[in-house]
Amino acid sequence: VVSFVADVRGTAVLARGRTGGGAPDGLVALLDSATGRPRWQRRVGGDVFPDSLAVGPAGIQLVAQDPLTFDQLIAKRQRADWSPLHVRLIALDRTGRPQWRRPLHEVTGGDDPVEDVRVTVAGSLVVAVSQRQHGARIEVFEGGTGARHWSRPVERAGHVVAWRDRLLLDLGDRRPSVRARDGAPLRADFLPADAPTPTSVPASYQLRGDTLPVFSGDQLAAVDLAADRIRWRLLTGVAFYPSELAPGPERAFNASAVGERDGLVLVLARDRCLYVVDDETGAVAGGRPCRLHEPASGSPLVATAETTVYLTTYGVVAYPLRTG
């Protein structure tokens, strides 16, 4: 299982949880996004949660837990061993040196293990949303020191987008926005009233301006968060059949890889074409490249000066596509 994040400073970070032989090693590697060559790699130990990798000003963060093979976990449960798996948030600097690690909240007794964790960077803060079978929890840490700011339970986990001084929480049936540094509620729904429904916010989206692209069926809409309105909508009407295993048409913009660069919204849709959309007008640039590798659902997409990088089913791929 390979995770991937990248930033526009020309780096891509990969993490692996478990090797083919079942040996968990928590391997993290930082690649040069122009060449794909590793600058460094480090074993942090443990089983890395695949959606927990994040990169920001304070460095690289990820969440791992004690390594157990599946058989070992089953045996542990059968002998009623409810000891925790020590889910911890690990921070590295950009050279791969460990900075700090902090335990994430675990239910006493360990009988409701953490199933999934998603980490988001919000300025100098690091936000971890963990999903367990019986609930979810948001925990916010200081990126530089690991100091815990606040923590609270929620009913469902979801995606977090950082915007200005607040967190936009896409928790499935609710989308509140809260103040990042203390969790104070600000709005019940961060989307404007004219937002399409149902709406899904792209996972792992690093917002730089005020435009948040959202998906709804076969349309891509741009939410102007500052003006609290929909700036434009892009209708594709493109339906395609992804595979024999998943019969039935799928809309091209569902769960695409999405990113932004220099006032452009970049969407690598499920039809394997890269749509380059003007942030202000919604106009699609001509000559879109197609027949690219299909993106992993919800993958980040990062365009640097040299390459466009995203996650596929098998790993990370970079194309020499100029988008600016």
């Binding site: 990969l14 590697a29 009988d111 199933e115 999934d116 019986h134």
Partner: protein, 110 residues
């Protein structure tokens, strides 16, 4: 005379057939759009072992996956084309726990 006439007819038919085939090929080449080549990636990378090109490395552990499928009734199916969470998801839902579970159901709504 008849044999010579047959030869002439055969030759004519052959010329017509070859011309028609050439015409069809030429027309097809004009009408059919040229095949677009798949763009070549600049590079690709994976931390998974190259000998194991399946989406998730845990699939390589076939004994575990078989057991997991039995225990978890398919919960080990890979989500999102290969990005699965740790198998605790499967284990957590495969039964075996009789202790009361403390939950956060009382989570306050925002």
């Amino acid at each position: 005379v008849a044999a010579r006439r047959s030869w002439v007819i055969l030759a004519t038919l052959a010329v017509v057939a070859v011309s028609a085939a050439a015409g069809v090929v030429t027309w097809d080449a004009r009408v059919r759009p040229p095949p677009t080549a798949e763009p070549a990636p600049a590079w690709s990378a994976s931390l998974d072992p190259p000998a194991n090109p399946v989406p998730s490395a845990i699939l390589a552990d076939s004994a575990s996956i078989q057991r997991g499928l039995q225990l978890a009734a398919g919960m080990l199916l890979i989500r999102d084309g290969g990005r699965s969470g740790p198998w605790t998801r499967a284990a957590a839902r495969s039964g075996g726990g009789s202790r009361p579970v403390r939950t956060d159901q009382a989570a306050r709504r925002w």
